[in-house]
């Protein structure tokens, strides 16, 4: 059985992957080569057979499930964003209080110090238990700040 060294390029020709010059050269070659023209005809038949086949269509109820799942994912991401904002806001509030109470001119009495720590705890806790993962990080950070603050005030 005879072979042609150009047959390997027929697929690239068929797929439009040759440079314009190479494409024209191959076109002329295929016209005069029985092996390559048969190869091209077979590739064309295969492509048109595959492309004429019907791919399955998405079932109607699957479309509805897709819509519902995207809506749920969006709601969850909105809730997460809101929780993160709340936690960050609480963190900022704590930081402001820390700065305020560190002012040397405002030396607190013991009772006032306890009251203040309660305020701080409550600010922190309000962002705490229900918050999501990111928010929880903020919560832990705020707890550290409160602990740190209590130590400093207590010395």
């Amino acid at each position: 059985m005879s072979t042609c060294p150009e047959t390997g390029k027929v697929a690239a020709y068929h797929d439009g992957e040759l440079s314009p010059d190479e494409h024209r050269r191959m076109e002329r070659h295929i016209e005069g080569c029985r092996l390559c023209s048969r190869e091209l005809a077979e590739l064309r038949r295969l492509s048109s057979l595959l492309q004429s086949a019907q791919l399955p269509r998405m079932p109607e109820d699957a479309l509805e499930r897709l819509r519902a799942r995207c809506a749920r994912a969006r709601e969850r991401s909105l809730v997460r964003t809101a929780e993160t904002f709340a936690a960050v806001a609480a963190g900022i509030a704590v930081a402001c209080l820390v700065l305020f109470y560190r002012e040397p001119s405002a030396q607190p009495s013991g009772i006032a110090r306890i009251a203040r720590n309660e305020v701080l705890e409550s600010v922190v806790l309000s962002a705490g238990p229900d918050a999501g993962l990111e928010a929880n990080g903020e919560y832990v950070l705020a707890r550290w700040m409160v602990a740190d603050l209590s130590l400093e005030n207590g010395k």
Partner: protein, 184 residues
């Protein structure tokens, strides 16, 4: 223009606009579903893959390059989701239905089936593709159904262009064997 329209639909859908989502899904869901079926060679994973594709698209909206088309971008995400589904299926080590029920015989050519319509011969393309290896399936689907260039396929799959060419060559050889009754 269609490109800009699609992009605005994608953004609005990502922000919860139901009408935009409906239009976007109407335009792409069928095509993505068909692709998912042909990439996995089965219909049961396709729905999940299409869902994951839309969710990933909304999450990654910021990475979308405006010069790309939404269809091409969604396809690229879907190819990755399908590969991921295949890997997790592999980890779960489920037994394919074909092995349980003595399904497709790998070496036999497919007999043309008549569906009683005027066309006479109907090709169950998902069934055919299921007989290819996942890697051969990917290149065939992206080339024959999506009309992607070798370079685009190489980028989508993260393999060299030469690998795309050789996989495509072997995949077509296999398809010519499997489909000889249709092609003669």
């Amino acid at each position: 223009m269609a490109r800009i329209r699609d992009l605005s639909l994608l953004r609005r859908a990502g922000n919860g606009d139901e009408t935009a989502f409906g239009e976007l899904a109407g335009r792409y869901a069928d095509r993505l579903y068909g692709l998912a079926c042909s990439l996995t060679g089965r219909q049961d994973d396709a729905e999940e893959i299409v869902q994951e594709t839309f969710l990933a698209a909304f999450r990654q909206l910021r990475t979308f390059r405006e010069e790309a088309s939404v269809g091409t971008w969604l396809t690229a995400i879907l190819v990755r989701q399908a590969a991921r589904a295949r890997r997790s299926r592999g980890r779960r080590r489920t037994v394919p239905i074909s092995e349980v029920s003595g399904g497709p015989d790998d070496d036999a050519a497919l007999e043309p089936v008549s569906n009683g319509s005027r066309e006479g011969l109907r090709l169950d393309v998902v069934d055919v593709l299921e007989r290819l290896s996942p890697q051969h399936r990917e290149v065939v689907v992206l080339r024959e159904f999506e009309g992607r260039s070798y370079d685009e396929i190489a980028r989508a799959l993260g393999v060299p262009r030469g690998t795309v060419e050789s996989r495509l060559h072997r995949a077509r050889e296999r398809l010519r064997e499997l489909l000889r009754d249709y092609l003669d």
